[in-house]
């Protein structure tokens, strides 16, 4: 039993940081936020951090000019967090702006969860380098801490969902057609993705029992997701259940948590994977060097002297 990412290196942390902030960069850069100014401001009551700001500020937020400027500023900070020399500061600023962005897009409609694990990942990756600075000179930064925090947060969000489901609904949801009612209802919403398999759910007799029996299994796997931090077989079982679950949700109800799927590689031992990859690369380049120009690739490498 070992803790996932316990022995992570700075190289792995740098890769994960670029991945997380890079995903946010693509997401915000491709989001036409300014269009929301067409909708009436009264549909957007301030939420979360926006509530802290004076009411006068909120009145200026809902304009195409402000939203465009806000998006550009967020993209610049995210680009700084991925590529820039002042990555630490840019990452902190990006997290602040992302929090306001995510609160803004949730002020109309309802508070969904799709992007939140990726937001928490950005928080951890931006905040732990600050803690490293507090250690003082001569102390090595701890790459394991933010990676454990990001992975634990991802696992905890699944457990939180399952715990709420069980606490609020009890076991009734698993004993009836409730899951079918939910899926059929969701499949008829006019949503961004336009899969229609869920509308014809009842025409697929094999699918109905699979969903009925699969729902408690998914809930159990979600509930115990944090154990994946220390148990490799459980991590693999989690992935084996949750990847098909997320894809099924897309095809049946047009709900896609691609942000979660993008974080799933964190449930693998990245250090070992990168180590293996680097070892293969090194041995291949050593082979190439030893073969020399004009040497046949079939020539066996000379025996090593080191």
């Amino acid at each position: 039993v070992t803790l996932l990412h316990e022995n992570a290196s700075g190289r792995t942390l740098a890769g994960v940081r670029a991945w997380v902030f890079g995903l946010w960069l693509l997401k915000i850069a491709s989001d036409p936020l300014h269009r929301l100014a067409l909708l009436p401001a009264s549909l957007f009551p301030p939420l979360g951090p926006w509530k802290i700001l004076p009411a006068g500020v909120w009145a200026h937020v809902h304009s195409a000019e402000f939203l465009t400027g806000f998006r550009v500023a967020t993209v610049l900070c995210l680009a700084g967090a991925v590529f820039g020399p002042g990555r630490r500061l840019a990452a902190l600023l990006a997290c602040a702006l992302l929090t306001f962005h995510q609160a803004y897009v949730r002020s109309f409609g309802y508070i969904n969860h799709a992007e939140l694990p990726l937001l928490y990942a950005a928080y951890a990756l931006a905040a732990f380098p600050v803690a490293d600075r507090l250690l003082g000179k001569g102390r090595e930064p701890l790459p394991a801490a933010p990676l454990v925090a990001v992975t634990a947060a991802l696992c905890f969000t699944y457990a939180l969902t399952a715990a709420f489901r069980l606490a609020a609904g009890g076991l009734d949801a698993f004993r009836s057609d409730t899951v079918l009612v939910w899926l059929l209802h969701d499949a008829h919403y006019p949503t961004y993705y336009r899969w229609t398999l869920g509308r014809d759910l009842l025409e697929h007799p094999g699918l109905v029992p699979l969903l009925r029996w699969g729902f408690p299994v998914v809930t159990l796997v979600e509930l115990l997701a944090p154990l994946g931090l220390v148990c490799r077989p459980w991590r693999l079982a989690f992935l084996a259940v949750m990847v098909p679950f997320h894809l099924a949700m897309l095809f049946l109800t047009n709900i896609l948590f691609w942000e979660n799927l993008a974080l799933f590689p964190l449930l693998l031992d990245l250090e070992r994977a990168i180590g293996r990859f680097a070892l293969t690369e090194r041995s291949e380049s050593r082979d190439r060097r030893s073969e020399g120009p004009g040497t046949s690739p079939r020539t066996p490498p000379p025996s090593s002297t080191d």
Partner: protein
Amino acid sequence: VFTFEPKLFFGAAAAWGAIGFLCTLPAPETPLGARGGQWAFWLALIVLLVSLRPVHRFLAALPRPHAFLLAGFFALLLAGQLADRSKDTFPFVSWKMFSMPAPASLGPIAYYEYYGRTDAAERVPLNPERLFPSLKNYRMAVGLMTLAGGALDPARPDPEAARRLSEALRALGARHNRENPGTPVRGVEMYRCQLDPRPGPARRETYRWRVWHVEVAP
């Protein structure tokens, strides 16, 4: 595999007691018992996790700033769930998904559809989330449905919800016209649809009736 350190254990339990206090605060939807049940579950899970030797070893070796950061982050995550006041505590929210009350057996399903009406009286389907992708993942769909629920409440129609619904539908039309200047719409219609999924596909019918209509300025 397991280890026990009283200092760490009682420290975590004290912090957990403080978070448990949040369970007693009034929350709009979740009953107190449900929050208490979750509190007990999380206490058990956290005790289990911190008692595992590799987790314990990792936590014990963390410098103080990192330990505070980690503990603070997860305390906020769990407090957001237990407080169940997502609009106030965002980004630390309660994780409700497939947990809303739903009928135990299949019955008629109601939903809304949106159409634009052109000058030639043709009906063009409108997809609100495609027109405003920032509000995808059901944010737009649920937002419009909530407004419709208020505006069309047979017992007590909400005039404010009605005004907002009209403005939102006009915005759908305006956005469509910007994207499709060749086929602009002059009005937007909202239909309530009802479908009983129980009969086979051959006998299944969807009933649609127009419940709202707004003009769109050219």
